[in-house]
C-alpha cells in the first residue's frame, strides 16, 4: 500500500518560492546528500540492474531473450491481458467514483482539509490483507450480501472468485489514491477564475468542461497512475478474492519466484516494467514543474 499524494494535503500550500537554488544560505550542503545518493544507487539503481541481468540470462549465465519471450506463452499472455483489462476497468470506476466525491468535498465548507484526508486514509490503518479478506465475508455464497438477498427471496449473487470480485477489491483498495490527488488539485483552483467564467456567461457545464476539468487534469493523471500501476501488478487481491482459478500477471511472477524460477520471473517483471514506464512517462509529462510540486 502506498500513500503518495497525501503529502500535498498534509503539508500546507507552499507560497510561491522566492528564492531559487542555494536558498537556505547554506553553502556546501552537497555532502548532506551523499548518504542518500549512496543508498539510492545501492538499493534502487543496482537492484534494477540486477533484475535486468536476471531477466536477460539463463541459469548458465548465457545471454537470452527467452525469459522475456515467455510472455508470449498463451497462459502468461492471457494473464497479462486479464490484468490489463481488470486494472483498466478498476481505474475507470475509481475515476468515476472519485471525481464527484472530490468535487463535493471541495465544495463543502469544511476548512480543515486534514480531517477529510484523515477520514479517507484511516481505513489504511487496518491491515490491507485483512480488509480484503473481510470482502470475502461480504461476497461469499453464504456471505452478507447473499444473506440479505435470501431474506428478501431474491436470487443469489455469485461474485466471489469471479473477475468482478477482483475489480471490486482493486477499487476498494486503491480508491483513496484517486480521490486524494484530484481533491488536492481542486482545492488549489483559484475561485476567481471560476467566478470570472460565470461572469462572462458560462453555465455550470461549460465552466466545468472549460475551466475545472482542464485545471484538474494533473491530479486526474496522477490518480490514474496511482490506481493503474498497483492494480496491474497485484497478486494479493486476485489471490484472496479471485480464488485459485483466476491468474493475473502478478500471480504468475510471484509463482515463478516461489518455485525458484528467478530468470523467468525477472523476464516477466521486465515486461511489466514497460507498462509501468509508460505510465511514469505520461505522468511526468503532466508534472511540468519537474519537482513533483503539483503532484505531491
Amino acid at each position: 500500500m502506498k500513500i503518495r499524494n497525501v503529502l500535498n494535503t498534509i503539508t500546507p500550500k507552499t507560497p510561491s518560492q522566492k528564492n531559487g537554488a542555494g536558498s537556505l544560505g547554506i553553502r556546501n550542503t552537497k555532502w548532506l546528500s551523499f548518504p542518500y545518493i549512496l543508498w539510492m544507487v545501492g538499493f534502487i539503481i543496482i537492484p534494477l540492474i540486477v533484475i535486468l541481468y536476471y531477466g536477460l540470462t539463463t541459469n548458465d549465465k548465457l545471454l537470452t531473450l527467452d525469459n522475456i519471450k515467455s510472455i508470449l506463452d498463451p497462459i502468461n499472455l492471457r494473464s497479462l491481458r486479464l490484468a490489463l483489462e481488470l486494472s483498466f476497468v478498476s481505474t475507470v470506476i475509481c475515476l468515476l467514483l472519485a471525481y464527484p466525491l472530490a468535487m463535493i468535498l471541495n465544495k463543502s465548507k469544511m476548512k480543515s482539509n486534514s480531517f477529510i484526508v484523515m477520514i479517507i486514509i484511516l481505513p489504511m490503518w487496518m491491515n490491507f490483507l485483512l480488509r480484503t479478506i473481510a470482502w470475502q465475508n461480504i461476497l461469499e455464497r453464504t456471505g452478507i450480501i447473499n444473506t440479505v438477498l435470501k431474506f428478501f427471496n431474491l436470487p443469489m449473487l455469485n461474485i466471489i472468485n469471479t473477475p468482478s470480485a477482483i475489480i471490486l477489491g482493486m477499487v476498494y483498495n486503491f480508491l483513496p489514491f484517486m480521490v486524494l490527488p484530484i481533491y488536492n488539485v481542486l482545492i488549489k483552483i483559484d475561485k476567481d477564475i471560476i467566478n470570472a467564467a460565470r461572469d462572462l456567461g458560462a453555465n455550470s457545464i461549460q465552466t466545468f468542461l472549460k475551466i475545472i476539468l482542464p485545471l484538474s487534469l494533473p491530479g486526474v493523471i496522477s490518480g490514474i497512475t496511482m490506481v493503474f500501476v498497483p492494480s496491474l501488478t497485484t497478486f494479493v487481491i486476485s489471490n484472496i478474492l479471485g480464488g485459485s482459478k483466476i491468474v493475473l500477471i502478478g500471480n504468475v511472477i510471484e509463482q515463478q519466484f516461489r518455485i525458484g524460477n528467478w530468470h523467468a520471473g525477472s523476464g516477466l517483471s521486465l515486461v511489466l516494467m514497460i507498462f509501468i514506464l509508460i505510465s511514469m512517462a505520461i505522468l511526468s509529462k503532466y508534472d511540468k514543474e519537474g519537482e513533483g510540486g503539483s503532484i505531491w
Binding site: R4, S23, Y36, W39, W125, V236, M273, E291
Partner: protein
Amino acid sequence: MVKKFIERFYVGLILFFLYAPIIILIILSFNSSKSRSKWGGFTLHWYKELFKNQSIMNALYTTLIIAFLSALVATIIGTAAAIAINSMKKTPRTIMIAITNIPMLNADIVTGISLMLLFVAMRYTLGFTSVLISHITFNIPYVILSVMPKLKQLNPHTFEAALDLGASPVYAFFKVILPDIFPGVLTGFFLAFTMSLDDFVITHFTKGPEINTLSTKIYTEVRKGIKPEIYALSTLMFIAVLLLLVLINRRNADKREPIKKV
C-alpha cells in the same frame, strides 16, 4: 435542497464502502465462533488469548521494531538529503527528484523482487536486516517529499543571521532550521512508519523464512483461516490510531480557536 441531499448521500455511500470491511473485522474480533462465516455469540476471549499467543506477539514486535527503525533511519537520511536537494541547481535537483520518485511510482512487486535478487546476488542471508534495508529504501522518499515544502517556506536570512551572530553552522542548523522544518520531519516520520507497518509485498520477497511481520503472518493464514486473535489485535491497533488522530485533531482545533475569536 435535493442536490444537497444527493451529495450527502453520495459521500455517505462511499464512506460506507470504505468502512464496511473494517466494521466486519471489528465484529469478527468479538465472535466466539472460530469460523469467519458463523456468528457464535459475543466474547472477549480473543483479546485475552491474543497476549498469550507467542507467534502473533513476536510478529507484532518485529513489525513495530522494523517500522520504528526504518522510519528513524529514513528520517535522518531523508531530511539531510532534502536540505541538500533544496539548495541544488535545477538540473541535479531534477535528477535527484526523479530518482526519489522511482520507488514511489514503481510497482511494489518489482521493487521487492529487485531487492531480493540483490541480496541473493550479494550472498546476503535474507532476514531481519534485509527487510529493514528494504523498508528504509521505500521510506526515504516519503520523508524527502514531506520535508521539501517546509524547506521552501524557510526564510534563508535567519540562518545567515545566526551565522553572522557567531553560531557555528551545526548549532545554527539545530537552533534555526530544524525547529522550522520540524513539522515536515515529523509528518515524514509518521508517514514512513505507516508505510512500513502496512507493507506486505516488499516484505514478502525480502524476508527470510524465520521472521514474520504481521502482514506476512496474515498472508500465510489466508488459506487455512485467520486466527481470531489477529482480528482482536488489528481492532486494538485501529482504535489506538483513531484515538491518537482524534486527540491531535482536537489539539490543533484548540490552537486555532483563539485566533478565530480575535
